[in-house]
Amino acid sequence: MNKVVSGADEAIRDIEDGMTLMLGGFGLCGLPENCIAALVKKGVKQLTCISNNAGVDDFGIGLMLKQRQVKKMISSYVGENAEFERQLLSGELEVDLIPQGTLATRCMAAGYGMPAIFTPAGVGTEVAIGKEVRSFNGKDYLMEMAFDADFAIVKAWKGDTMGNLIYKSTARNFNPVMAMAGKITIAEVEELVEPGELDPDHIHTPGIYVHRIFKGVNYEKRVEQRTVRKKE
């Protein structure tokens, strides 16, 4: 059950124009940097990207936007990206803004084999337009469908050759739920080890969900808002 590929280029080799991709990360934290770079290099276009954010102008998915590789973004928050805003306001880019919890739970539903979920987020707002509303115990909920993605691309801290993954701190974010949700899931990790080296009780994503894994290189891990305090 060896899932190891040589690197990002091999991992994304069969991603084609027009596909739907999930990309893990929150802001610039926990991004699959190697795969994003490979997608930029490969130049695939007309992509639908499901990702909480759209990166910044020169990092993360922002790099793919700059090259006009993205047809549609499905995100919860897209501030901090001027090129994104320009493409959106000019109509070059389709954008589906959805509540963050809805985004995460639609990924989760896909990974748990459930076609839809019910959430109160967005009831009474424009997010509810065209959606089925169901009332449970006197409260209204929107029916939201599980995502259907061709590929999920995630970043983990450690992984083994069988695809078991462990994430670090808040770099976990959307990565585990997206890892569960792709028809094909690609994981890039900082540390790739042999089976048995990770404690089974500490695994966040069981390898059954992961199809390809490789050790990433040259992580920049850019910080969006560096906030510190002085030592007293």
């Binding site: 934290c29 306001l89 963050q100 919890g101 995460a104 987020a121 009474g124 969006e224």
Partner: protein
């Protein structure tokens, strides 16, 4: 009149021992600085952390550890990390006791708008729609009027809504207001040096003033 720190200080008094609290971006983030040390309060960051601590010391920033505002932070002893689905699971299941967030507009029936200005700003709702749809107790921290001098406490919101009938309390630079279940902003306290007349003038929605209105103590 209260400054941003003053608004944060006043809101901190709403936090009770044992609370799990989610703080939004902006003034709400400042509230963390005024929670008494004697109180046992756990801060939730919706990108997947319970037990958020202060900013790291210079040189100790960890790019893998940020809050929902994308700022570098620390974890306190007893912290737990989790994925985004679980994070909003605990919010939806009402395990988080109090949500404090900013707003562009609040209506007298508790509707809130804070994610979009059509044609101008398209940043998105982030976790705000999930939070306001599920939280048991929502306090809004905001300026009373916008940059154009127009009241942000309205009869009806004019901007696209984030949630309906959800805001319970508002703290602005002018005062503290309850949003009544039957509709209307009830003036509870006024900021130091601010008269009731000034608050009436700055409030476009239905304002309810009963008897003497005490000054905010912070």
């Amino acid at each position: 009149m209260l400054d941003k720190q003053g608004i944060a200080k006043r809101i901190a008094k709403e936090i009770k021992d044992g609370y799990y609290v989610n703080l939004g971006i902006g003034i709400p983030t400042l509230v963390a600085n005024y929670i008494p040390e004697t109180m046992d309060v756990v801060l939730q960051s919706e990108n997947g952390l319970l037990g958020m601590g202060p900013f790291p010391f210079e040189g100790e920033e960890d790019p893998d550890l940020i809050n929902a505002g994308k700022q570098t932070i620390t974890m306190l002893p007893g912290s737990a990390t989790f994925d985004s689905a679980m994070s909003f699971g605990m919010i939806r299941a009402r395990k988080v006791n109090l949500t404090i967030l900013g707003a562009m507009e609040v209506s007298e029936n508790g509707d809130i708008a804070n994610w979009k200005i059509p044609g101008k700003m398209v940043k998105g709702m982030g976790g705000a729609m999930d939070l306001v749809a599920s939280a048991e107790n929502i306090i809004v921290a905001m300026q009373h009027v916008n940059k154009a001098g127009e009241s942000k406490l309205l009869s009806n919101c004019t901007l696209p809504l984030t949630g309906v009938h959800c805001v319970k309390k508002i703290v602005t630079e002018l005062g503290v207001f309850d949003v009544l279940p039957e509709g209307g902003f009830k003036l509870l306290e006024r900021a130091p040096g601010v008269t009731v007349d000034e608050i009436i003038k700055a409030t476009a929605g239905k304002l309810i003033v009963e008897g003497e209105v005490p000054e905010i103590l912070i």
